[in-house]
């Protein structure tokens, strides 16, 4: 633009115009003119005008020559032939345009400047181009690397089969939501497990299962887009759904949609229907952690499976109870090693004489400053396979205590409970015999209590073997099972412990009748009866009126440590123990 403004300022002489035309032709022959021939000639006319001005300027300044050389390159007249033809042309024609000798003497200085300016600009252009290419290529490769990194990141955060976000992605998503949550924001997380996944896997085969997971991934992605929720695949059969909620119902609806999407994912009309089991957790978002959401949803899923239901919702109270149970289970082996389990003893009385005729050993666990009762830990011991070790320990400790009492002159019958798991141990009779031998307790002084169902359904051989070594067999909690005396009559049962529910149901006429006839039947079968759960004077009076002679319960004495029972025994009026 400045070229054209200068161009219009002052016309060149016809001679100078001829030189400019020749210059343009030479430059055009030397290389490509991007702006076209006309513009090139105008630009060169302007440069020629500047050159002539410099020739005549007072005082003389050679700098314009350098600038003209640079300008040629800027005008993209930059091929090596341009500077050659320019020097040749100007050396030939400039002297006649310059006129007087002083002007002519300045021409070599200006020409030197043109050559130097052209070279300097040419060098700058070449180096600049190299830098530009270098930068461009670096930028390009940075983009390529960024692409690879994005691919890698996608791989790290997505399941390869379903292409859904994976567990790591889910954790990040939850963490982000928690970090940006408003105070009243709520969230729902649902874990969906495909039921019978192993069978489904067998049905489809490996490759088809991958296709199924891909189909599930696609359907859940559609669902996520349509309902504004986040879905993830935590591996194999487990999918997660995260949705902003106002209440649990919102989560339940979203999970319903996801279940339908999963069910509809199976390709082919004859394929088995996909069934899901779901664990849900819903609540305020602030102050939580991503891990806690997944843990709680997983906990709820576990309950759904355990309870054989399609769906379970997280309940903090149940979770706390579960946690306590898990901790107790974990602590049990060490507690057994340390001897934290010990027996308490509940006296069994002769209801007529009010003398103690026996004791029932009941396990207690000293744990965390408390003493825990069997209902806190027996199930856990059975589930974790530690019941046999616990039972053996109780039997051993109780036998040793019974021997001490015998040595004090108290010939008590020791009742010890046996779990069905213990009955299933083939070496139980040998173990009991060994204990009796080690402790010195006579076999007849030991009464092993087993449940009615265990006695009737299984373990007949073990029960016979135990009776064979002289141990008495009692049926515990009689009346809670089949109450099948005919079946029991085939077993070497010496005693029935009548469950306390009979007493609780009294004094209805029917209950009293059952109590009366049970005692009479046992009397005819030569089976002793011990009434459990005597809690009041009325209970005791009813039982004695019906002819019951032995019983236990809080009315008579609570379970207590051995030394307490020792004191009770000592306070009894002297007399022969049974």
């Amino acid at each position: 633009m400045s070229d054209r403004a200068a161009d219009a300022a002052r016309p060149l002489s016809p001679e100078a115009q001829a030189v400019a035309r020749r210059w343009t032709a030479d430059v055009a022959a030397a290389g490509f003119l991007p702006a076209g021939r006309g513009r090139a000639r105008a630009a060169l006319e302007d440069l020629l005008r500047q050159l002539l001005d410099a020739v005549h300027a007072e005082p003389f300044n050679p700098a314009p020559g350098y600038q003209i050389g640079r300008r040629l390159v800027e005008l993209r007249m930059s091929s090596p032939a341009v500077i050659g033809s320019t020097i040749a042309l100007l050396a030939e024609r400039l002297p006649e345009l310059a006129g007087d000798p002083p002007g002519r003497r300045r021409i070599p200085h200006l020409m030197a400047g043109i050559a130097a300016g052209f070279s300097a600009a040419q060098r700058s252009a070449a180096v600049g181009a190299a830098e530009d290419m270098n930068r461009s290529e670096k930028l390009h490769w940075r983009r390529v690397q960024a692409g690879y990194q994005e691919q890698l990141r996608h791989t790290q955060l997505h399941d390869p089969q379903s292409q859904l976000p994976n567990r790591a992605h889910l954790l990040t998503h939850l963490t982000d939501r928690i970090a940006t949550a408003s105070p009243d924001a709520r969230l729902g997380v649902g874990l969906l497990s495909i039921g019978d996944f192993a069978e489904l896997s067998d049905t489809y085969g490996h490759d088809d299962l991958d296709l199924l997971l891909a189909a599930i991934g696609a359907r859940l992605q559609q669902l996520a887009a349509a309902h504004g929720c986040f879905v993830a695949h935590l591996g194999d059969d487990l999918f997660a759904l995260v949705v902003a909620t106002g209440c649990l119902d919102d989560l339940a609806k979203a999970v319903d949609h996801a279940c339908h999407a999963l069910a509809a994912s199976a390709p082919g009309a004859c394929q088995p229907r996909i069934r899901t089991v779901e664990g849900l957790v819903e609540g305020p978002l602030q102050g939580t952690t991503a891990q806690a959401w997944i843990r709680d949803a997983r906990c709820a899923l576990g309950w759904a499976r355990h309870d054989r239901r399609d769906r379970a919702c997280y309940d903090p109270a149940r979770a706390a109870a579960d946690l306590r149970r898990h901790r107790l289970t974990g602590a049990m082996p060490t507690a057994l090693d340390r001897g934290d389990f010990m027996p308490h003893f509940q006296p069994i009385y002769d209801l007529r004489s009010r003398r103690i005729t026996g004791v029932e050993a009941l396990a207690r666990w000293r744990h965390g400053g408390q003493v825990l009762s069997p209902h806190d830990f027996i199930d856990l011991a059975e589930q974790s396979g530690q019941i046999c070790r616990l039972g053996r320990s109780m039997l051993d400790q109780a036998c040793r205590q019974a021997v001490i009492w015998r040595e004090q002159g108290h010939r008590l019958t020791l009742s010890v409970n046996l779990s069905p798991h213990q009955l299933a141990e083939p070496d139980l009779p040998a173990t009991v015999a060994g204990l009796l031998h080690d402790t010195g307790l006579p076999a007849a002084a030991l009464q092993l209590e087993i449940t009615e169902s265990a006695a009737v359904e299984h373990h007949h051989q073990v029960i016979n073997d135990l009776a064979g070594i002289g141990v008495q067999i009692a049926i515990d909690d009689f009346g809670t099972g089949y109450s099948n005396l005919a079946a029991l009559s085939r077993l070497p049962v010496r005693c029935l412990k009548l469950d306390q529910q009979f007493i609780r149901q009294a004094p209805t006429a029917q209950a009293v009748t059952v109590l009366r006839h049970t005692r009479l039947l046992c009397q005819d079968l030569d089976i002793e009866v011990i009434a459990e759960g005597i809690e009041s004077a009325g209970d005791e009076r009813l039982l004695t009126d019906l002819g019951y002679t032995r019983g236990q319960g809080f009315r008579l004495a609570r379970p207590a440590p051995a030394h307490t029972v020792t004191q009770l025994l000592a306070r009894q009026a002297p007399g022969a123990d049974p």
Partner: protein, 275 residues
């Protein structure tokens, strides 16, 4: 690529193949540009030795591009899609178009990611010009590219430039079909600009040309010569030829200043209008 060769270009990032001549870098060198490597310069020097007119053909072609863009702006076109734009050094479409109409918008497309990156850095700060990576053989990916649709309004006429690029598309890739698909995306009144290497007019010229074509056979982009009739056939029924039809670049609305330049019959050009 040999390790020694890579090391000799100390500043070239690993992975850039500078051992094979690249069509766009060769063209840049042919026009006097400096965005090229030694292998490109050596290739062009060899081509010029076997075909001394090669440089003039390249320049005639590039000069035609400038004249065609100015002609199109004069015809009211303000949107340009330059496919196969190469290294944007000498005679850029956006410089010419925006000099004639500052509101002109130009979208460059090239298959070479390096050329695209160089274009991107050159165009930074120019809201009326942009560049994407694209392959002429997949026109849909260019025409429906989000950046293309953002810059260009296809409900208005667009000039599509395929300058010195169709002679790299073999018949097996369906150049006529490619142009037809491009034509489908254009409204009536749009333009298509084509330049293409054609056979020289003399036996000696054609012999030299064949030797140059053989040289190109050893590059990733062999050249296919098509004569004026074949070039016209590529355009299909969607386009009507604008006068003077398929002609030599030097004969297409020549600049009076350049009237004395030697004719270049091997540089065929045509400007066509969407019916």
């Amino acid at each position: 690529m040999g390790c020694a060769m890579t090391q000799s270009f100390g500043w070239v990032p690993e992975g850039v193949d500078v051992t094979v001549p690249d069509a766009s870098r060769v063209y840049d060198y042919a026009l006097g540009g400096v965005h090229n490597f030694k292998v490109d310069r050596e290739f062009w020097d060899r081509a010029e030795r076997v075909m001394p007119s090669a440089g003039l053909i390249a320049r005639a072609n590039r000069a035609f591009l400038g004249r065609a863009v100015r002609w199109l702006v004069d015809a009211g076109i303000t949107q340009f899609l330059d496919i196969g734009s190469g290294i944007p050094t000498l005679g850029n479409v956006h410089e010419v178009a925006q000099d004639a109409d500052p509101a002109a918008r130009v979208m460059y497309v090239d298959i070479d990611p390096i050329a695209v990156q160089q274009s991107r850095s050159l165009l930074s700060g120019n809201p009326g010009a942009a560049v994407i990576e694209g392959d002429l053989r997949r026109p849909a990916q260019i025409l429906y590219h989000p950046e293309v649709l953002e810059l260009l309004d296809f409900s208005e006429p667009v000039a599509v430039l395929t300058v010195a690029v169709l002679h790299f598309i073999p018949d097996s890739a369906g150049p006529a079909s490619i142009l037809s698909k491009i034509g489908d995306a254009l409204v009536s009144g749009s333009y298509l600009v084509v330049s293409h290497v054609g056979p020289d007019s003399t036996p000696a010229g054609r012999q030299a040309q064949q030797q140059a074509v053989k040289l190109y056979e050893n590059t990733p982009t062999p050249v296919i010569l098509r004569d004026a009739e074949e070039v016209a056939a590529l355009l299909g029924p969607a386009f009507e030829l604008v006068d003077p039809g398929v002609v030599s670049a030097t004969d297409w609305h020549p600049d009076p200043e350049e009237a004395e330049d030697p004719p270049q019959p091997a540089a065929l050009v045509v400007l066509a209008r969407k019916r």
